[in-house]
Symmetry: C2
Subunit: 105 residues, 2 copies
Amino acid sequence: MTDIAQTPPPPYYAVIFSNERTSVEQGYEDTAERMMTLAKLQPGFLGVESVRHGLGITVSYWQSLEAIRQWKQNAEHLQAQRQGREQWYDNFTIRIAKVEREYSL
Amino acid sequence: MTDIAQTPPPPYYAVIFSNERTSVEQGYEDTAERMMTLAKLQPGFLGVESVRHGLGITVSYWQSLEAIRQWKQNAEHLQAQRQGREQWYDNFTIRIAKVEREYSL
């Protein structure tokens, strides 16, 4: 077992979500878990890797830009994004990138 | 101060290095620190974000594929890559991706 996503051969897309949390805990863990569950149900979802140690980095992988757009517009996700901006994150950057090459150990 | 990389407007490139360590500690920390120092000196280096909590994710940002290629071929880095494959990593995936869009809080 590994926490590294098993993705198909490129090309596909990555959403790199780099973030720093506020001290607000209320609702955060439950919502983060729920968003992970929901993302995995989205069409075009390929995998996710997530780690936090102060800085948080979550990279999710998607079949297409359209799949990313659909996920961004998901109603529950929109509500979570709003709470994230207002309460849970001090700072974040989201980068959307096209994976062109991949190699593994 | 933030640990989130301050990158220029896209397009630019990301190297997403997702990894799981062996229990071998010898030489790892010093080499990881040295590689961070060296990468920052490379032409075309734009920034880096790194976090480990079991799973490690390091994302480095670069001006071009050529800059990434040069860094991959750096002599000290080649030696570190060899030790990494042989001793320090149980598992890793490296993805090279073109960042097309970026937005922040």
